[in-house]
Subunit: 227 residues, 2 copies
DNA sequence: ATATATTTAAAACATACGTTTGACTTGTTG
DNA sequence: CAACAAGTCAAACGTATGTTTTAAATATAT
């Protein structure tokens, strides 16, 4: 029995990286083992040798992707006593930021693809990435709006997430409608600011959109409830 | 030259219907011409005979789908003089309704799939289905909030659409997270009501979520701006 | 009624895919 | 050195797919 040397480890890792890119760009069916192996500089047989088959390679690629993209439960945890409004603001900022300019675009792309129609690797993404974020948001909202029913709490969370996901899930379509240039001008900061204000206003913690003086209205609400 | 008789029309139409279902369920690559032909009760050669190939069949299926799903620019046009708030309310209701319980589920599914990663039939869907709706919404919002910049106008529209699309685009994932039962209880009416109130509150035309008396707050805003 | 065009049917074709095979190289161990 | 396992490689295998071909059946028009 030999301990795999650096070269073989590198081969396996190159395979995973190439797979991540190809699966992200073309999906499970669209990607071919031949292309992945060529991009990785590994022989065709390498996939079956190291992973046992295309499907196992895919699952491993998704696992690595979700690890690389950063886990949702590692959101910057606010210091104790942070007002819930600030927690919500931080959550939205982080969410929009990760959607807009992820550290590993291919990894994020692959994860989103797996979310779009969940396959055999979905539960991994959900368990370690999505669910913690969803529950964290729900707790923030519960703290913010204690009187809200569970159903409304759920839908309110969906309203927040829906806004954040929209720009990533529908970017190609929005570019087709309004032109690539118009969409490109919407940087992560602007989007985050907008979603924060839109959401806080909807919940009564900031001036309504179109009132007040934009960002100033967010930071110093005059009619918004205090927390 | 002969006019196609009813049987041949039926064969072509059966092919289109079967294609719509298969493409919707399995995507372009996942669907096979053999399965489509079998479901349509037509010989394998029929696809190439009637449409010239799988791809042309797909495009035709998408065209028929967008026609069946109802064109977005045929949204119930409000009577002249309708307050913009009412227009927005009607828009959201129609949008959520069509997303939640479409008249032709397969058709809607196929359209959403084509939107998710736009292919050769995307421009058809965009030109005749999506763009009119997007522009209509923008005009409603412009009328509602004349002072808003173009950029904010765009993002506000995205906030509305993002909420409406979320439930359809992410239903499988939400079911994985919160359980199928919890999601199933969110009927179209509840969702529409919530999105309407959330949005109107964000724009300053209704009570914030969690304040007031739910629907009553929507219909009789006390602090909301008058229109 | 005959000729022509249209439609249906079965089989074959060419290609691309995931996988497997078997030989060859390399590195470690007794 | 010999033996053995791990890694690498090119070639082949079996299968599924979209398409084409060829021929028969059916309908339409003159």
């Amino acid at each position: 029995m030999t301990i795999p040397d650096t070269d073989s480890l590198a081969a396996k890792q190159r395979l995973l990286d190439a797979a991540q890119g190809e699966f992200a760009d073309r999906g499970f069916d669209g990607a071919t083992v031949r292309t992945i192996c060529r991009k990785a500089g590994v022989n065709i047989a390498g996939i079956n040798y190291y992973f046992g088959g295309k499907e196992d390679l895919y699952i491993e690629a998704v696992k690595q992707a979700h690890a690389c993209a950063g886990r949702m439960d590692t959101f910057p945890v606010p210091v104790a006593g942070t007002p819930p409004v600030e927690k919500l603001r931080a959550f939205i900022r982080e969410m929009v930021s990760r959607m807009h300019t992820p550290a590993r675009p291919a990894a994020m792309k692959l994860m989103m693809r797996e979310m779009a129609d969940p396959g055999k690797a979905a539960h991994v993404v959900v368990d370690e990435f999505i669910r913690p974020a969803a529950f964290a948001l729900r707790e923030i909202l519960r703290e913010l709006l204690p009187k809200l029913s569970e159903e409304r709490l759920l839908m309110t969370g969906f309203s927040v997430i829906g806004q954040c996901l929209f720009y990533r899930q529908n970017r190609p379509i929005t570019e087709l409608i309004f032109g690539k240039e118009a969409i490109d001008t919407l940087d992560a900061e602007s989007v985050a600011e907008h979603v924060v204000q839109f959401t806080l206003a909807a919940l009564g913690f900031a001036e309504p959109v179109g009132k007040g003086r934009d960002k100033a209205a967010i930071r110093h609400p005059k009619r918004g409830r205090r927390v």
